[in-house]
Amino acid sequence: MHRAPEAEWAIRTRGLSKAYGSVQVLAGLDLQVRRGSVFALLGPNGAGKTTTVRILATLTRADAGQATVAGHDVLTARSQVRRAISLTGQYAALDEEQTGLENLRMMARLRGLPRAASRDRAQELLERFALTDAGHRRVSTYSGGMRRRLDIAAGLVSDPEVVFLDEPTTGLDPRSRRTMWETVGSLTQAGVTVFLTTQYLEEADQLADRVAVLDGGRVRAQGTPEELKKTVTAQRLDLTMAGRAAYTQLAGRLGGRVLHQSPEELVLGVATDGSAAHVRALLDELDPTREQVARFAVHNATLDDVFLELTHE
C-alpha cells in the first residue's frame, strides 16, 4: 500500500472493534480511503458493513480502535465530522408525508442555510437528480429509485466532503440501479469522497476505485477490483458431465486439479489459459471417447470468485 500524507486520507481507521452482546461484529478493522475516491466495502449480510458506516458517521461508538473522517476523530470531534459528512442509510430517511421539496428545504434549513437559500438549494438538487416534476408530490408517492435519489440529494444540501451510502441500490430494479450508479459517478466529479457498502460485486466493480472485502468483522482483502480479480485463477474451463458415473470418474482422475465442483449440476472446473488450443487439448485429454462431457464453458474470473473464495468458511 502507498504511503500518503495524512491530508490525502478522507477516512482512516485502526483496529475498530464492536460487539453487540456476545456477537463480535467488527474485530479490528483497518481501512484507508483516499480523498476524492470511491471506496466500496463489500461483504455478505451480517459482515459488519452497516456497523462500520454507523461508527464512521458518529452514530455508534466503537468498543476499541480509532477512526478519523475528513481529518477529524469520530469520538472527540463528533460535530466537526458531522458537518463534513452525509449519510444515506439502507432505509430512506425522509418524511413520507412531506413533498420532496419540503424534505430538502427542511434539511437545508437544519444545516443552517437561510430560508431563501434553502429553497434555491432544494430546487437545484431536485433538478440535478431529475426530480423537479415530482418535487411537489409527497414522498409516499415516489418509486424506490426516486426515494433513493431524493435521499442522496438530502445528504448533499451542505456540500459534504465524505458521502456514506449504505447499500444504495439494495432493492432497486436494474434500471434504477443504473441511474444510481450514474449518480454516484457524478458525485466524484465534484471531488467528493464516496464510501459505499454493497453486497453486489458487480456494483463494486463498476463504481469503486478500491474495494475491501469484509467478512466476520475483518478485512479479508483490499485493493483495486483488478488486483482482487488477479488473486484468483484468471480463467477456468467448466465441464458439465454427461452423467453421475462420468462425473465421479473424472473427479477422481483430476484430484487436486479441480478448481471448482458442483456435484448437483455435474460440473467440474479446471484451470486454462482460455486459448482455443488449450481448451481443445484439455477436452481431448479429459474426454478421449467424446461421450462423457456434455457441455463446457470458459469462465472469466469475477469479483464473485474472489468474494466466494475469501468468504468461504
Partner: protein
C-alpha cells in the same frame, strides 16, 4: 449549525406532518366530541351532579379526555421517527434530539389547542355556559395548556420506550384511562370507597377541578396549585427520562 433554528424548523415539520395525517386528526377531534355527546345524552340523564345540567359538569372533563387523545399521537409520531431511520439522518446532521422531540410536542400542543376549541364550541352549542371572566379563562387555559404539554412529553417518552409505533400508541393507554377514575365524568363520592383514595389523589382530578372551578366561576380551593404541582413535577421527571431513553435507544 445554529441550534436554535432547528426548533422552529422541526416544529413546522411536525405540524405539517400532523396536518397531512388527517385520519389521526379527525380521531383526536371527533372522538372526544362523540364521547361528550354520548355522556350528555346517553348517560347524563342518570347522573346527579352539583352543577345542575350535566353538560356543565362534563364539558371540562371532555377537554381533559381530548388532551389525552391528542397527546397519545405524540407517542406514535416520535416512535415513527425512531424506527424509520430519519433520526439517524438528523443525528448525522448534528441536529439536537431535543429539537426533534420538542418539535413533536409543539405540534401536539397546537393540535390540541385546535381540538379543545372544537370541543368547547360543540359544548357551547349543546348548552355549556361557562361563567368565567377573562382572568378565569386565562387561568383555565394556562392550566389546560400545561396539562397538554405534560401529557405530550409523557407521550414522547412512550414513543421513545416502545419498539414500534403501534406499541407506542398502546403505551399511552394510561393517559386515556386516567380521566375515568377521576371527577371528570362523575363525582368521586359516587364511586366505591376503596377507589376514593386513588381518585382524589391522582393528577387528573386537581386539573379537572381547577378547570371546572375556574370556568364556572366557583371556588376551586387549592386545586389549581395541586394541578400546577402535578404537571411541573411530572415534567421534571419526564424530561430527563426522555433524555435517558433517547440515549439508551441510540446505544
Amino acid at each position: 449549525m445554529s441550534d436554535l433554528t432547528a426548533y422552529p424548523v422541526l416544529a413546522g415539520r411536525s405540524i405539517r406532518l400532523t396536518r397531512r395525517n388527517l385520519d389521526a386528526v379527525l380521531t383526536a377531534l371527533v372522538l372526544p366530541v362523540m364521547l361528550m355527546l354520548v355522556f350528555v345524552y346517553f348517560f347524563g340523564g342518570a347522573i346527579e351532579t352539583s352543577t345542575g345540567k350535566y353538560v356543565t359538569y362534563v364539558a371540562p372533563g371532555v377537554l381533559i379526555l381530548c388532551a389525552g387523545y391528542g397527546a397519545s399521537m405524540t407517542a406514535t409520531t416520535v416512535s415513527n421517527d425512531m424506527t424509520n431511520g430519519i433520526i439517524d439522518r438528523f443525528r448525522s446532521m448534528d441536529t439536537s434530539p431535543t429539537a426533534v422531540l420538542t418539535g413533536h410536542v409543539a405540534a401536539s400542543v397546537a393540535r390540541n389547542a385546535v381540538a379543545t376549541s372544537a370541543v368547547l364550541a360543540v359544548a357551547f352549542a349543546i348548552g355549556f355556559r361557562p361563567q368565567a371572566g377573562p382572568a378565569g379563562w386565562l387561568a383555565a387555559s394556562g392550566i389546560l395548556l400545561l396539562y397538554i404539554t405534560t401529557l405530550s412529553w409523557l407521550g414522547a417518552a412512550a414513543g421513545l420506550l416502545a419498539k414500534t409505533p403501534e406499541a407506542a400508541g398502546g403505551f399511552t393507554f394510561a393517559m386515556l384511562f386516567l380521566p375515568y377514575p377521576s371527577s371528570a365524568f362523575v363525582p368521586i363520592d359516587t364511586m366505591p370507597d376503596w377507589l376514593h383514595g386513588f381518585s382524589d389523589n391522582q393528577p387528573v382530578t386537581p386539573v379537572i377541578e381547577s378547570l371546572r372551578g375556574l370556568l364556572l366561576d366557583q371556588p376551586a380551593g387549592n386545586s389549581p396549585w395541586l394541578a400546577l404541582a402535578w404537571c411541573l413535577g411530572l415534567l421534571a421527571v419526564t424530561l430527563p427520562v426522555c433524555g435517558a431513553l433517547f440515549r439508551r435507544r441510540i446505544g
